[in-house]
């Protein structure tokens, strides 16, 4: 357990985690919820890693895509009499924007991909991550499942590298996710 707080509001909880981690990055507050979740999860994993200039690929997946933000955008254009779509909301109506936020923060110019599945697909992740490492496409891979829809959210991130503490296998990924 790194941090916990009894707070039903996702937005407030993410802000508390941001403050707990001692991050100074004002653009965080402009992100949508999915990006904030991906950003904070990546911070926890990469904070002790010298990521700048490293070739760290990012492969994420979820099942809600950017639906949480898509709804906000839809609500702003439903009424033709009050049609004021927010550009700041619209730019987050793609799930891979969170990857961009992580890349900007850690100065990564690496391969990345965001995939939408019904549930965490260990087989797909294992093969993609293995392929990136084995073919020297990246030094390491930040990967996992980042999902949010209204007050329900889940993040499962890990870093795959040549010298990890746990062997990179499909079975281990499945076990880590279920635990």
């Amino acid at each position: 357990m790194i941090f916990s707080e009894d707070n039903p509001q996702v937005k407030d909880f993410f802000k508390s985690v941001y403050q707990f981690l001692g991050i100074k990055y004002s653009k965080f507050f402009k992100m949508d919820s999915l990006s904030k979740l991906a950003f904070l999860s990546a911070e926890i994993i990469l904070k002790d890693t010298v990521s700048e200039g490293k070739n760290i690929a990012i492969i994420l997946s979820n099942n809600a895509s950017s639906l949480d933000t898509d709804r906000k955008h839809q609500n702003s254009i439903n009424d033709s009499e009050s049609y004021f779509p927010s550009p700041a909301v619209f730019v987050y109506t793609l799930p891979n924007i969170g990857i961009g936020e992580i890349s900007i923060r850690h100065q990564l110019k690496s391969e990345n991909g965001f995939f939408v599945f019904d549930k965490y697909n260990a087989n797909f992740h294992y093969n993609y991550e293995k392929s990136l490492i084995n073919n020297n496409k990246s030094d390491s891979v930040l990967a996992g499942w980042v999902n949010i829809d209204e007050d329900s959210y889940e993040a499962f991130l890990y870093l795959v590298s040549e010298n990890g503490t746990l062997e990179h296998t499909e079975q281990n990924l499945k076990q880590l996710y279920t635990n």
Partner: protein
């Protein structure tokens, strides 16, 4: 005019999620972009929508925003002169 400037400062902080900025830290003649508040291009678009939504001012040329959004002082003067609501 002072009420409008205060209203603009509050709206900008809330609209643009400037969580670490207080109203009294924004001076009337501070640059909103660049070295001032550090707003970016998406913020500029958001301010254009705010002009339309809150004050009934529709900019035909988004490039106009560069001049209008230079500072709170200039924004307030422009809004006072052109507002339709």
């Amino acid at each position: 005019m002072d009420d409008l400037k205060l209203e603009l400062k509050n709206n900008i902080i809330e609209l643009l999620n400037l969580e670490d900025v207080n109203v009294d830290e924004i001076k009337d003649d501070d640059s909103l972009f660049g070295d001032g508040l550090g707003l970016d291009s998406i913020d500029a678009l958001e301010l254009i929508v705010m002009l339309d939504k809150d004050y009934g001012i529709r900019l035909s040329d988004p490039k106009e925003g560069k001049r209008i959004f230079e500072s709170i002082e200039i924004m307030a003067a422009y809004i006072s002169e052109h507002r339709t609501k």
